[in-house]
Subunit: 342 residues, 2 copies
């Protein structure tokens, strides 16, 4: 029987296990933590007892006492965002495989919250993954100074002190712009992300470089700052459409903005791609089911999540070693939303 002497009312502690196994509780702790120098026979005895009693570690106590809590903190800006969801999936999957739990903190795009959470998180978790954090030197510095294991996703780390994963932002934007240029577009509007984000700046630079390489003068009025969210993409596209000399193509620097732009374009009576070509960035799932399907720059989002976890676990396992940095290749996915101007 498995429900033999199960009394689920009071949680089982290592004391219970120790008593049942006839050893001291510190020995139980050793066994449970995979300490090497334990006699095999007592190891078995303890494991048996733990199993039998249905022992489950109290993570709070473990964390408090200095051990690992086996919890990783994840700081995300918002939840209603496919980009975020995709990366989260990769993180969740990798974490589950490694036996870690996930504590989720949503900042709701409030920089102050990132800062406030930072310390709380540090008291609860073994490490932290920051997904598109707003530029917040203050708390990032605090985290770095405490030498708290962490990794930035989609945020270049200028100082090199934080591990990071990101896509080839510059190159992706360059390719997207080049694609439009090759199709024959000359007036290419862009909707950026918040320019305080390094990814947004890098993509904008890629755009600029492509125009320059093809000797197309840069018209600053074609550059509208967005925030990587759909509503702002909608507004930004409206601004672009209002220009005296309307662009024949728009490069929205993430897909969500592109979706917003799509609405604005359609609403203004123009059609995609006949009147205006549209290119996005990320290749979130929706990009493949819009009409027309969205040409975009694919980022391996799920994989970015997985790699973020790998980089973090490396830090946990080798506290001394320098933080890793990974840059993953983006890939232009040409679909129906872009064609030559007419």
């Amino acid at each position: 029987m498995s429900a033999d002497n199960l009394r689920p009312n009071q949680p089982v502690t290592i004391y219970d296990v120790a008593a049942a196994a006839g050893v001291s509780y510190s020995t139980v702790s050793r066994v449970l933590n995979g300490f090497e120098f334990v006699k095999e026979s007592t190891r078995v005895k303890v494991m048996d007892a733990a199993e039998r009693l249905g022992y489950v570690a109290n993570l709070q106590a473990r964390g408090l006492a200095g051990g690992r809590s086996n919890i990783i903190g994840l700081l995300v800006p918002v939840l209603d965002n496919s980009y975020v969801s995709e990366v989260m999936m990769g993180i969740d999957e990798a974490l589950a495989r490694a036996g870690f739990n996930l504590m989720l903190f949503t900042t709701h795009r409030h920089a102050g919250k990132e800062q406030q959470y930072a310390s709380t998180i540090a008291s609860m978790t073994d490490g932290l993954i920051l997904l598109v954090p707003l530029e917040s030197p203050i708390y990032l510095n605090a985290i770095r100074e405490r030498n708290y294991p962490h990794v930035l996703v989609d945020q270049t780390d200028e100082s090199g002190a934080s591990a990071s994963v990101s896509g080839t932002n510059w190159h992706g934007a360059y390719e997207a712009t080049q694609h439009l240029i090759m199709l024959g577009h000359r007036r290419i509007g862009v909707i950026t992300g918040l320019l305080e984000l390094s990814s947004a700046r890098e993509r904008l630079n890629g755009y600029r470089a492509a125009l320059q390489d093809y000797a197309i003068p840069i018209d600053e009025s074609l550059i509208v700052e967005g925030d990587y969210l759909q509503p702002r993409g909608y507004e930004a596209a409206q601004e672009l459409l209002k220009l005296r000399e309307r662009p024949s193509a728009i490069f929205a620097m993430n897909d969500l903005s592109a979706l917003g732009a799509m609405d604005a374009i359609r609403e203004s009576g123009l059609s995609i791609p006949e009147d205006i070509s549209l290119v996005g960035f990320d290749d979130i799932p929706q990009a493949a089911i819009t009409h027309p399907k969205l040409t975009t720059v694919r980022q391996p989002l799920v994989q970015m999540g997985r790699i973020a976890v790998r980089l973090l676990l490396e830090q946990l396992d080798h506290p001394g070693s320098p933080p890793g940095h990974e840059t993953l290749a983006t890939q232009l996915v040409i679909r129906a939303s872009s064609q030559p101007p007419r």
Copy 2:
């Protein structure tokens, strides 16, 4: 200056605050926990010191010592699922507003994991929200016996011992079926969720009741068990299309299954709604952007999340009171995927 005497290297504890304020650390604890009988002047002194030193509570310690950890656990089956995401958004929002943190556990649809997590979660959090849990009497019983605050989302609680939120599953399915019947359909195939889930059973009963009410004989071969996921929806639709007497309409009992069915139908050379009408359930965001747009039964997903939090907080605040139960109205949203049979 705010970065006055900030030494972020060693976390600030209540001892530090106590020393700085010139009181004992238990007084600090009292102030921090909003204990009533504290002299106003010392309250201010303590708050000042805490602020100045940048004190942040250590949740592990607080939890261990018997106080509230201010963390709520959320158990979800998977993450790559709009239904889950929507409800999570509501939960996240409500929790943030109430000053709680979120610990996320993904079971990856593995019933064993739900059970295994249950105890871990209990040791870390103040309460638990279970989103579409697989029927797992064992661990649910354990949770109930420990009197651990929790609420079930989209799972009817037969025993009444667990708080719960869900939509009007029976009624929603009845309406959807009725809608198809009114359009003139007589052979209506259904793709259910796992029938071990109460929501799936309730919806199936609603379907059956509608057919009965309109005196349409029930053909069991038109009922295919799915699992609320897209791939299975695809397969199930294929089975339905292979029937000698093909249905003229399919009611997929959640939108994700409907999306899968859509692929299968299209792939078989039939078109929606001309050849086959399709109705879903949930009204996840994608439902409005498929082609044709999906007729579906809307559930107020975000709100369900919010209410789940409310029910949970009620339990935390009034430990004695009976668990609440809320049933939210669903609403038939008629779009383009359903029309009279030809």
